[in-house]
Structures are given as structure tokens and as C-alpha cells.
Symmetry: D2
Subunit: 353 residues, 4 copies
């Protein structure tokens, strides 16, 4: 099979590590470079002992003048926010396709990006040519593109939970609330602080950045507005930290405009996501758990109507590092390169329990 050369920049973080894990066995990929300032010159196992036996010839490299990376067909950027917009132009001009896991290329409206991330966008011209990489909603737009802004983890879970309802105008937009619970790997690997020190997190649940202050709030609004053709859609979004490493469970609430039953809405979801290989709509009475998606690129969704309140509760689950980051990035690569959308992503989902 014809293989493409692929590079990963920011390869020693959690997103980077998952990219290496997935790409190591991707049938269309020759993993050629893994850039990490921290680990340059060291073997992959220095950062990821779990990859012992894989990628035996790969060593973390420095970005240097970018020539090694620029020679790749596809480059994944898995750095902190604000870095990719500096790196990507060079790579794109050199002919690379780029999938960026940061927030830098998620917003076509540069002003929203700048207001949210408190920094001017370094390359609005390339940003305008990027696409938002949520394949279940935007697959056709993604296919022709060379630069993809890979969605945030909370955004992926929240948007997939709500898209069918908003697209079909079944709920009052202003009533939408998402209460999300995330494992701690979502906080990344590079920054240590008391906040993520094991004894502080363990055996505790907490909310943070409540009442619309989390930066994924405008991204959820952008994704759902764009897809649903809504103007000024806004919601209340609350993130929580739970004592586990991986997984996001998003519990979404919305007031129904008309009367619907649980089974009608499930049928609608099933039709909406028909043929999409990573979407699992559960049967009535079933609800997802993050463990069911552990290590897989799938999103599981269950829902029920609270008839007394004429309100629907939708529960969606993903692995924040896979469908919420590296797996979805590979899915996007598959789309922009013309591979099978599921290539490299069809290992049996989850290693639960």
C-alpha cells in the first residue's frame, strides 16, 4: 500500500502520545518525525514507555529549521494554543497538509478567536482557508481542505449531543445547558500545578470555570450555530473534573418546543448519524458510560425525555484523547488524504473494564 510521510509536532504531550500510538499501526502512514523540545534526541519510550516495541527507529527530534517536518505529506500540530498559527504557514507553503489540535484554526471568525484566546491571530489569511474538523457535521467541507482545526474535546462531546436537536429546530436554543465531566488528561501533560497533583484530584469532584467562562463555550456555540444555521446561539456550559484519567461525559439539557417521546428522538438521532462509523446511538433505557469509549474513536449517545418538564436530557461520551483529540485528528487526516475514514481507527473500542 502507498504510504504517506507523517510528522507530529508537540509529540511528547498526551495528544501527541495518542497520535504516535494510533499512527504506529495506521496502514497508510509512515511516521517520519516526532518533534519535542523536551525530549529531543531521546527514544520515543523516554516519554512513552507504553510504546516499547513500536516505532523502533524513531527518535524525538528538534523542530530546527523545520525542513524535516516540512518534507512530510501531513503534519499534526499538537502544541499549546498560539503555537500552531506561527508554525503552520511555513508548512502549508511547503506543501504539507496540516491538522492542528490546538484552538488556532478552529474559528473562521478571527475576532471570536482573538477575544477568546486574548491574542491576535498571526495568520488570518491561512485561518480563512481552514476548516473545522468535526467530520460528523462537516465531512464534505473537510475533504477538500489542506488545513484543519481539530475540535476541542468538550466541544466534540457537546456538539454531537446537541446537533440533531438544533438542526431540526426541536428545542429552544436559549434553554440549552451542557454539564460536562472530564478526566484529568484533558488538562494536558506539560503544566504541573497543585490543581492536577494526584492527592488533590483523587477522591474529589469539582466544577471550574462555570457560568460561561470556559474557552470551549464560544467554540460549542460556533460549531452549533454554523451547523444549525442559527444566529447568536448561546448556551450555559459547565466543566467538571472527575477523578479519572480519560473520558468526557456531557449531559445536555434543552426544552422541547413540541412534544416528543424518547423513542421518537432516538429514531431521529439514529437517522441523523446513520452510516457514520464512529457514532453509536443507544437503545431506549440505555445510557453511556465513559468507560465504553475508553481508547476508541467512538461517541456513544443516549437520551430521555422528561415529560413533566417537556425537556430532553442527552448524554454523550467520548475518550477525550481519542475522539476528543488524536483519533479525530487522524479521522480528519483520512478525509483530507482520501483514505478510508476509519483507517487506523478500527481497533476494537475500549479496553474496558
Amino acid at each position: 500500500m502507498n504510504k504517506i510521510d507523517v510528522g507530529v509536532v508537540g509529540a511528547s504531550g498526551y495528544g501527541g502520545g495518542e497520535l504516535l500510538r494510533i499512527l504506529a499501526t495506521h496502514p497508510n502512514v509512515n511516521l517520519k518525525a516526532a518533534v519535542s523540545g523536551t525530549y529531543k534526541g531521546k527514544p520515543i519510550t523516554a516519554s512513552f514507555p507504553n510504546l516499547a516495541g513500536h516505532l523502533p527507529n524513531l527518535v524525538f527530534s528538534d523542530y530546527g529549521d523545520g525542513a524535516e517536518i516540512a518534507a512530510c505529506d501531513v503534519v499534526f500540530l499538537a502544541q499549546e494554543n498560539g503555537k500552531a498559527m506561527l508554525t503552520a504557514p511555513h508548512l502549508l507553503e511547503a506543501g504539507c497538509k496540516v491538522v492542528d489540535l490546538s484552538a488556532d484554526f478552529r474559528f473562521r471568525d478571527t475576532a471570536t478567536y482573538e477575544a477568546t484566546y486574548k491574542t491576535p491571530h498571526a495568520t488570518p489569511e491561512w485561518n480563512s482557508r481552514a476548516v473545522y474538523g468535526l467530520p460528523e457535521l462537516f465531512a464534505e467541507e473537510i475533504k477538500g481542505k489542506r488545513i484543519v482545526g481539530n475540535p476541542g474535546c468538550y466541544v466534540t462531546a457537546s456538539t454531537l449531543a446537541l446537533a440533531p436537536l438544533l438542526k431540526h429546530n426541536l428545542v429552544a436554543p436559549s434553554s440549552v445547558i451542557v454539564d460536562a465531566k472530564s478526566g484529568v488528561s484533558g488538562a494536558g501533560r506539560a503544566k504541573f500545578s497543585l490543581d492536577y497533583h494526584y492527592p488533590e484530584i483523587n477522591e474529589s469532584v469539582s466544577a471550574y470555570k462555570i457560568a460561561g467562562t470556559h474557552r470551549h463555550t464560544p467554540e460549542i456555540e460556533m460549531a452549533l450555530s454554523t451547523f444549525g444555521g442559527l444566529s447568536d446561539f448561546a448556551l450555559t456550559f459547565t466543566p467538571h473534573l472527575v477523578p479519572m484519567t480519560r473520558g468526557i461525559l456531557a449531559t445536555a439539557y434543552a426544552n422541547l418546543l413540541n412534544t416528543s417521546s424518547t423513542s421518537e428522538l432516538l429514531a431521529l438521532y439514529r437517522e441523523f448519524y446513520a452510516g457514520m462509523p464512529f457514532m453509536v446511538i443507544l437503545d431506549e433505557g440505555e445510557l453511556p458510560a465513559t468507560k465504553h469509549t475508553l481508547g476508541s474513536n467512538r461517541c456513544h449517545i443516549g437520551l430521555a425525555v422528561d415529560k413533566r418538564m417537556n425537556r430532553v436530557t442527552v448524554v454523550s461520551c467520548i475518550d477525550n484523547l481519542v475522539k476528543g483529540a488524536a483519533g479525530q485528528a487522524v479521522q480528519n487526516m483520512n478525509l483530507i488524504c482520501g483514505f478510508d475514514e476509519t483507517a487506523g481507527l478500527l481497533y476494537a473500542g475500549g479496553i474496558a473494564p
Copy 2:
């Protein structure tokens, strides 16, 4: 100091074990009987090795003809739902005061109890003389009573989060949503099932009994309706299981009827709960974590207004086995016996981290 004789029925479960732990050092209590069918005749440490060195002369006993228990001044009933309504009449007639940790004496409206728990109430006459034991809202009513229905754990966290808002008519009642996250000890100790088997729970978050189907939903509605003078108050309540042993975090959402700021609402909460020894209202910008209340009888509350949505998010935390069960039961005993409300409950809160 004058001590009263106290008995615990259902003493080998989690609620019972916490009662024994707290009562072991309560200055007004002589713990005289601990009834457990499973452990009868065995030392307390057979069920609670953590109590080694305490209660050295106490042995689990059988309920028998009830004479030993009926000789106590106060009896805690910590059995499954449906048992206390059979046991309590005998004890009350013998002159005991009773604090029941089950649902049996929580609803003055017997019909709601019967609809929720799918069983006729065995003693509506005693039920009508009981009081709902949430001291922060009903202390005066509790003081004169002989039979107390101790609130559910989710109900305690949810009701304390919302009472100031509803009492002051600051929010639209029909907009209220509570998204609650609980540790696994809330499921009890006696029933084993795959649901609570360690490998199934660990490293996973899940929702269950969504869309108003959890039995604590009508209890929250009853508590807030009674206290707030509302008729037909109803809400959407969603319980979740998180991988930890103890703690409940309730995230409550409500649409504000007028414009309020975070600091105004915090001031209101502070005034509302002024002088109540177990209530902690956090400063603006601070949010609670369940770990902060671990092992204590306190409830911590933080909140913020989402100005864009004109919606408030309130976050409350308790230890489900203490303020959500045994600690609150002792607080109720203190009130009905005329002890200091904090007697036996003022150990330094939490053993966090």
C-alpha cells in the same frame, strides 16, 4: 455530663457505620445497641475494622423482640426503605425518639411516598407526626418532634443549593435543573451487583435514572415547595456516578427573573445561612470540591451568574454519608434532644487530601 442511651438499627451498612463512628465520641451519648441481622453476635470490628479501639464493649445484636432497642432514649433506623415504617411505631409507643435515615418518614403527603416507593405506608398516623429533618430549613419544626425523616443525600445537596433562590422568588421555578454527581457509597453496602463491582465503576463516569426517574426527584420538589411556599414546583434532576467512594457535588441551574450579580447572590446566600454552623458560603471566584467536605457535616456552596444567559449556576458539596446521612441524623438528634446542634459533629472537617 448527662448521657442518653442510643441504639442503631441497621448498624452494619454505610449509614450505620458512620453513625457508630460519630456516636462513639459524641459527648451526650451512651451507645447501647447496634442491631445487625448479618453480624449479630460479632464485635463491631467484624464489620468496621476502622473502629478498632472504639466501642470495645459493644457487640452487634439481633433486633429480637425489640426490648433492648425500645429501652433506648433515641433510636436511629438505618435500614432499607420500607423497614422503618414497620419498626418505628413500636419504638415510638415505647417512648423512644426516632431518627429514620430511610425514605419512610420524609413525606407528609403519604400519597407521594406511596407513588414514589410503590408501597402503601404502614403507619400514616405516625407519618403525619413526623418532620422532615433538614435543619437548615426546618430547625424550628424539628425541635419539638419525636420522629424525624432524615433527608436523602442528593436532596440535601440540591435543596441547600436552591433554597435561597426559590424562597426569594429570584428564579423561574420551571427552569430549575440539578445535575448531581455522587460517590459510590450512596448505593449502599448490602446489595452487590455488577453495577457497583469495582472494575465497572473505576475510571468511568455515567448518568443513571435520568429525566426525572430518580426517587429523590419528588423529595427535592417536596422540600423546596414546602420551604418556599411554592405549589407544583418541579425540576429536572440527573444523578451521575463518579469513581470515588464519598461525596456529592450538585450543580444547579436556574434562570434569573431579574438581573443579579454574582456578588449580590453570594451576599444573599451568606445572609440566608448566617449563623448556621454547617454552612460554608465561598467567596466570589471560589468553587467547592467534594474533598473539602470529606468526613465532615458541612455543606460548601459557590455560585456564579452567567450574565449572557441571565442564568445562575450554584455548586454545592457534601459528604453523602455525613451531611447526606449519618451526620445530619445526629444533628437532628441534637435538635430533638435539646443538645447543642453541633455536639459530636465539630471535628475538623475533612481529611483532605
Copy 3:
């Protein structure tokens, strides 16, 4: 590629679930039957929601008269101890190859089996034709066999840690101690008890069946005696439960007969396990963590010499459900069927962190 028909009996437990997960993407396997008394007639996702999207046409079946299973080329038996010896003869006579994950076919010395498992062996004649399926030590013996006794999880970790030392007579056999720590999935999925109830296990470490009373003790002794050509080898083995789902870490101690350095012993291990695709010997100064092997079929080993005591400490890690159960069983299937030893097992190791 030519595919064989495979069946799994006891398919709804943890070992069975891992077999389904691994076999679902095995290139040489057509998974034809999954037998579960509990789940018969239900889809695979009824027991394993994580397998949604895989094995879409497979439904749990009843064993019935065994005809469906007996038509398979290879059958995995993943039942409780004592069942396989009743089932296997029928399957073997029907021409199936059998890999048994229970203890039934691990001991060629039937008396040791019977003493350890307190039950007569139902089919000593088939037992005598079985082989102990630890491929790193017995690959050549395994290749020709039709019935394999797949090793215990503790035994795999312990034996791989010690085999080089004992084979080369470097340590005093009577000085050997293994102190092992296991995740809770090792206790299985079918039996619920207070012992594995989430709140009891979480945030606690405990030892159990100490001082040689765990049934894996004679199995470790058998494996190392057989391989090392030792007579009457015996050790002290201590199992511990730690609050995690998967993984075994075995810390082995032995007194050196002569002076050796850490680097010399690491070189010996490296040579001993050279070319074995699932063995990873760490560099001097590195030590394994169970997370590094999570979800993979690999065994990681590190060691150091305590020069003051002239004693070596060897630390080995595996995933108890993969290399300690289902993965090793597939490795054995690969060997007895003439497939590549790594077929279906070369996904990138671990999904850590």
C-alpha cells in the same frame, strides 16, 4: 487470507470480553460463537458496550449440545475453574484445538492440581496431553499441541521475572519471595461480594491469602521447576489488591549466589528474552509501571542489585487480562495454529496515560 473459525465459551466475563476485543480484529480469525449462559440470545453489546460497532452479527449463544462450538477450529474456554475439564474432552474429540484460560489444564502432575483445587481431575488422560502455555519459556512444546493450559496472571508476571535467574542458577532457590500487586479485574466479573464492592476497594491497599496460601503459589513453583530443571522449588508468594482495574506488578526478591551487578543481570535478561516480541527489558535505572503495559500483551521488566545484601530485586509488569489471560491465550492460539506469534496482538501497547 485463510481464516479459521473460533469460539469462546464463558464469553461474558472479563477474560471472555478481552478475547472478543482482541479476536474482533485478528487477521486470521472468524469469530463464530460466543457462549454465555447469562447473556444467551443477547447482542455482544449487552455485556460489552465498548464493542459497539464490532462483531455486528454475533449474538451470545447457549452452549446447548455443543455442536456449534464443536464445529469451530479453535475454542477458548474462559470459564471458572473446574468447568473446562468437563467441556474440553468433547471438543478435543470433535477435532477442535482448545486454549483453556482456567487452571484445569495447567498441571501435568494431576495430584498437584487436585490438591490445589480440591477436586478430582475429570480427564487426566487429556490433561497429560496438554501443555503449559507460557510461550516465552515453552514455545517449542506448545507448537505441536492441541490443548493448552493458559497460565494464571500472577504466575505469568512472577515466572517471567524469575526464570533467567533460576535457569542460570544465580540465586538461592529457597530465598525467593514474590510480592505481587494486582488490579481488581483479576477477581473476575461473575462473583459479587463485599470484597470487590467499589467503596471497599477504592482508596485502600490490602494483602490477602498470604504465606503460601494463594493457589497461584504451586503454579509458579511448577512453572519455574519445570523450566529450570529444579526439584522441590518453593517460594513465598504474597498477593495484594490495589485500587485499579487492570495490571499486575510483581516484585521478586532472591539472594545472589555470587556477586553480580545490575548491568550484568540486565544483559543476561536481555539475552535470555532476545527475539521474544512481547518482552521488554528496561535500561539500568528504569523501572516499569503497570500503566506501561495497559491493554497490551507485553511484559516489562526492570531490576537492580542491592549490593549490601547481595540480593536482587526484579520488577515485572503485565496487563492481567491481556498477557495475564486473553492476550496470552491468543498468543498460544497463534502458536498451535502456525500463525505469526504476534498476529492480532501488535496494536500499540497501552493507552497510557
Copy 4:
């Protein structure tokens, strides 16, 4: 009751926080000063939200010129190693009694301290007047002293497990191995690193500093040599990190010199620790779990003889932050101040589960 003034230096770490929690309700203590460079000027709840409602008038203070602290009757030093030996002389000269939780005053043999901690001792003259604060072994020596070196957490668990055997010459000293498992709070609160980042620790067990390289090794040897009257006692000690916040379980192995039964040894332990309020010797067949000692100052011990190997396995458990640090420090204060040994430490042990 007459109360003494007490100060804590290093009050915002885990040891310091536990001191505050315990001292807040100690009947003989007026907690006068809590020194923390990081939190100076902030309320106690800034670092310990769990202490809300306690110590309402206490604010973290700077050490400044030491006058505030030097005015206390007793000072607890809960800083990193190397700090107390600089601070203590000033306090001792000012008339304070000092309990130091670091390693600085644990070794009478200054050379061992200096070799172990790679730093010269700043005040060997005060060190020679200090006492090793393990009350179960050295209560009489502690009573007259003004400066106490509070033992290490691993050392407390290991030494209490082995002291009866070595004192009575029942085991071969050179055969002793301790395999210890610790929660993560033992690593402290101040230093953040990838090592204790939640996603790295969670769902994993690992060994570290094996083969005698952990600094608690010489301390265990010193404690047992001193107590047992042994010369040149040395052992193999292996620490492990397990995914929990608190607790140490030490599994100790030793070869018996003569034949002994489990019940004989348990009787010996029971006699050895008779009358000591924090020691719990379990019945034959029972084994401890760290959860049983969670939040308490107790040490639980169980044991069994492996008759085949003529070797005893002893398992001991403590809460590393209580009996392994702050609780034992308060126990030492009680002894040097002539209070009841259990004052402030007799809350019901554990909040398990």
C-alpha cells in the same frame, strides 16, 4: 483546662495541614501561629478549604524574625529536610519544645544523617540531645526530651511490623525484606512534577528507589538496631506508589530461626504492644487494609507463618499523614508535655469506607 500555645512552621503542606486539623480540636492546645511562606497573610482556608469553620482567627504568617513562633510552648516543624536544623536551635534556645517532622533530628549518629541526606548537619550539638519519636518503642526516652525527631512514614510502618521479631531474636536479621506500598500524599505537596501528575499515577502501580536506595532504608535500620540491640542490622526495602491519596501498607518478610506458629507470633505481638493505645493486632486469619486506618493514628498489624518456607509475613498499615507524620507528632507532643498520650487523637478511627 490549661492550654499551651502551639505553632506550626511549614503549615501549608500535607503534614502541616494534618497538624492544623488535629490541633484544631486538641483539648490542651491553643493554636497560635501557622507559618507558611507561600500563603502568608491568607486565611487557613486558602490552603485548606476543608478547615472552613475551624481556626477562624488564624491567618498564615511569615516566619519573620521568629519572635511569634519562639513565644510558643511547642513548635512543630513540618518543612522539607534541611530546614529544621537551621530553625530549631533558635527556638530551643528561646525555650520552646520542638517536634520536627523532617529527617533532621532522627539520627543520633550524625554521620549517617549526613551520608543519607548528602548535607552536613548544622547543629550536631542539638541533634545529640534529640530523641527518635517512635513512642511505641521509645516512650520513656521521649518523655524527658525537648527536641523530637518524628519518624518517617515508611519507617513507622516497617519498624512497628518488625520490632517484636527482632527484639526477641526470632528471625535471621539478614533475611529481612520490607515491600511497602504508599499513597501519593507521601510525596508531599510542594513539588510538582510529572511523577505525581494525576494521569501518570492513576490506574498504575510502580516501584521506585529499589534495592536499598530509598532514604528511609538507613532510618529503618537505625530504629530497629537501636531498639533491638543489634549491630549492623541491614535490610532490603522497596517502596511502591499506588493510586490512592493516603495510607501505607508494609509487607515484611523474615526467616524464622526456630519453628513458630501464626498464633504464637500473634500472641507475642499482642503482649509486646499491650496497653499501647494506637496498636491493633488482628486475629489469626485477619489482615489489615490501609482503609482501616484512614484518618486515624492507629497501626494495624496482621501476620502469618509460611510453614513450608519457615518464614513469617507481617503486614502493617498506617495512615502516612497521621501515624506516619502529624498524628505521631502530636502523640510526641503529648508525651513531652505530660498530656495523656492519646489527647486529641482519639476520634473514631478512619472514615472508611
